[in-house]
């Protein structure tokens, strides 16, 4: 299509505009952008995170803004350098998990019948088997490193997305435009890619965000247990060393508090972005809000009714 890139540019501009106007989404996006900047450029400004720069367990001072670890490394440097790896694995796994989930879920929902039965059984089984113990067992057998960690997170995390996308595909599959495409003799692949997937864009975006939250949390948890590469510098291994050097019992709060706050802030930013997206892409929520302000401006207490969405403005 000749107008493809242009159309996309307009689409992106619209999204950008919507994000800017929604308070939640804007907060989330700004926080995330800040972390992304730190991840990309931060390591250039701090020294070698593994270098022994001073007396172990110094509290924060002008010299070491966040103090030193139990080994005598700079906590701030470790935090900044760790951001890069942790976020990279988080977003990479978040994307991969949704891709696999989409592949399985959409196939199951589109073809139905025996294919659906088999695939549904598969992801339901994976949903009910507890993820973290499985992840620990797999990680214990494989050589430690970022690849193992990503693999483990993907294996234990894809099923939820598959389930949600199957349900969504089932409902889209019933619509007339899909039936029309089937009757015109379009290939299955084309129907899925061109007709079905575009109707789920906002759901897919929400899932990538949700899966990234999961991936970062689970990753930090596994590394905290010592299942990552303990010689690397990531958020999880920082916490692992803090626990190993009994930071808690020596009162060295600065070795674990900043890292946990960063994990929480990224998770919070992603959740905000997600609920912001929900409001942007859900016309009913938008209309409800407009209706409410309209009523409140006239001094009427809004009831619980749901406004009907008009077809076009």
């Amino acid at each position: 299509m000749s107008d493809g890139p242009r159309r996309e540019a307009i689409g992106i501009a619209l999204w950008w505009d919507a994000i800017r106007r929604d308070r939640k989404a804007a907060t989330g996006a700004a926080l995330l952008a800040a972390f992304a900047l730190v991840a990309v450029f931060g390591p250039l400004f701090v020294g070698d995170p593994q270098a022994l720069v001073g007396i172990p367990l110094q509290p924060p001072s002008w010299h070491h803004l966040l103090g030193t670890t139990g080994q005598g490394q700079d906590v701030l440097a470790q935090l900044v350098v760790g951001t890069r790896v942790s976020l990279a694995i988080g977003f990479g796994v978040g994307l991969a998990v949704v891709l696999i989930g989409a592949l399985v879920g959409v196939t199951a929902g589109f073809y139905g019948g025996r294919v659906d039965g088999l695939l549904s059984l598969l992801f339901n089984v994976f949903l009910v088997i507890p993820g973290l113990p499985l992840a620990i067992v797999i990680a214990a057998y494989l050589p430690s490193g970022p690849m193992t960690l990503s693999l483990v997170l993907v294996v234990t995390g894809w099923a939820w997305n598959a389930r949600v996308l199957r349900a969504q595909t089932l409902s889209v599959r019933q619509r007339d435009f899909v039936a029309a495409a089937i009757v015109t003799g379009e290939s299955d692949l084309r129907i899925i890619v061109d007709e079905i997937l575009p109707t789920m864009t906002s759901l897919l975006v929400a899932q990538v965000i949700g899966s990234t939250i999961y991936a970062i949390g689970a990753q930090v948890g596994l590394e905290f247990l010592g299942l990552g590469d303990v010689s690397a510098c990531t958020w999880g291994t920082n916490l692992y060393w803090a626990q190993n050097d009994s930071a808690l019992l020596t009162g060295a709060w600065w070795t674990f508090a900043p890292t946990g706050l960063c994990v929480a802030l990224v998770g919070f930013a992603l959740s905000m972005l997600n609920s912001g997206f929900d409001e942007i892409t859900n016309p009913r929520l938008q209309l409800e809000r407009a209706w409410r302000t309209h009523l409140e401006a006239r001094g009427i207490r809004p009831s619980r009714s749901t406004p009907v969405v008009p077809d076009h403005d």
Partner: protein, 327 residues
């Protein structure tokens, strides 16, 4: 009944998948699995221990399907082999020592969190745009974004270490003998407050939000409007007419939440040196005690499957639609 049997069949399949995964995982290790596994224990274990380990794992020279069948037969008899770190205790025996503590921790955390979160969700939906609805959801989303174990670390640092209000770890004081005495139970409760509290705080937001959102939909439905129009007492409308129906999706996710919380409680146990499955699991990983590690995975999985089936029974009891279509 058909519904329950179908679910039971599903859990049996899930259990079989877990067993099979457990069988193939050691064989995924780079190189020849048997030699690689045993090379690590050479010199640390007596030859007869190695033989019994090999036997229990079915890691013999027999063809793969024979090994698999031997393994299944052993597992069904509850024989997960011998622990390497606690040799010669059988794996099942070692697991038994920690199971009670994990069930206590995860079980009470899930139930407390579910109860409080759901009630708050009802309140937030009823007084929509009130202060509960305005303050709690974002605050709890933020708390939920914190890793469980990190919240536990902060709680331990502030309430245990700095203020000294709670003990710093373990399930009970060393100078007490376990038993059903008041002193011992009170001591166990005192030790459980921080670990349970930190899990509850981290999971509260999910229950609150899901209940709030379903409640808002249900409150707008016809049968609730009718109940209101009849002039029923608001408490009755909210609890009997709305909350009961809005509870169903939360019940469905209850089973899955159990798995999550169990995982989270494993990490929390590490922070508090709480002698449950998580603590054993990490010790097993550090000591490369593979039989124990895999036994713990299976026991946790079966516990979650069993709990899920119980949730199905409750669901059947709560939702007349399924009950009627089943009979």
């Amino acid at each position: 009944m058909r519904f329950l049997l179908r679910r039971l069949g599903f859990y049996l399949v899930a259990g079989w998948v877990a067993l099979t995964l457990n069988f193939f995982l050691p064989r995924l290790m780079p190189g020849d699995p048997a030699t690689a596994l045993f090379a690590r224990f050479r010199g640390r274990l007596a030859p007869e221990a190695m033989a019994s380990l090999r036997e229990a794992f079915g890691l013999t020279r027999a063809p793969l399907w024979r090994q698999y069948l031997t393994y299944l037969a052993h597992a069904l008899r509850g024989d997960f082999g011998t622990s390497v770190a606690y040799f010669p205790s059988p794996v099942l025996h070692v697991i038994g020592t920690g199971l009670f503590w994990t069930l206590l921790l995860a079980g009470s955390a899930v139930i407390i969190s579910f109860a409080i979160g759901t009630l708050l969700g009802v309140a937030a939906a009823w007084w929509r745009r009130g202060w509960i609805d305005g303050v709690l959801p974002p605050a709890l989303v933020f708390l939920g974004a914190l890793p469980y174990f990190w919240l536990a670390m902060v709680a331990l640092y502030v309430l245990g270490f700095t203020l000294g209000w709670f003990p710093l770890g373990h399930a009970y004081s060393d100078d007490l003998t376990p038993g059903w005495t008041f002193g011992f139970v009170a001591d166990v409760v005192r030790h459980a407050v921080l670990p349970v509290g930190s899990i509850v705080l981290a999971t509260l937001g999910g229950w609150l939000l899901s209940m709030r959102n379903t409640m808002i939909t249900v409150l707008g439905s016809d049968h609730v409007n009718l109940a209101r129009a009849k002039g029923l007492h608001p408490a009755r409308v909210v609890l009997r007419y709305a909350a009961r129906n809005a509870l169903l999706p939360s019940i469905t996710s209850f089973g899955m939440a159990l798995g999550f919380v169990l995982g989270g409680s494993l990490l929390t146990e590490i922070v508090f040196s709480y002698p449950g499955q998580g603590y054993l699991l990490v010790q097993a990983v550090r000591n490369q005690d593979y039989p124990l590690m895999q036994g713990i995975f299976l026991v946790i999985t079966f516990a979650v499957l069993g709990a899920n089936w119980l949730v199905d029974v409750v669901y059947l009891w709560l939702d007349p639609r399924i009950r009627d279509s089943a009979s």
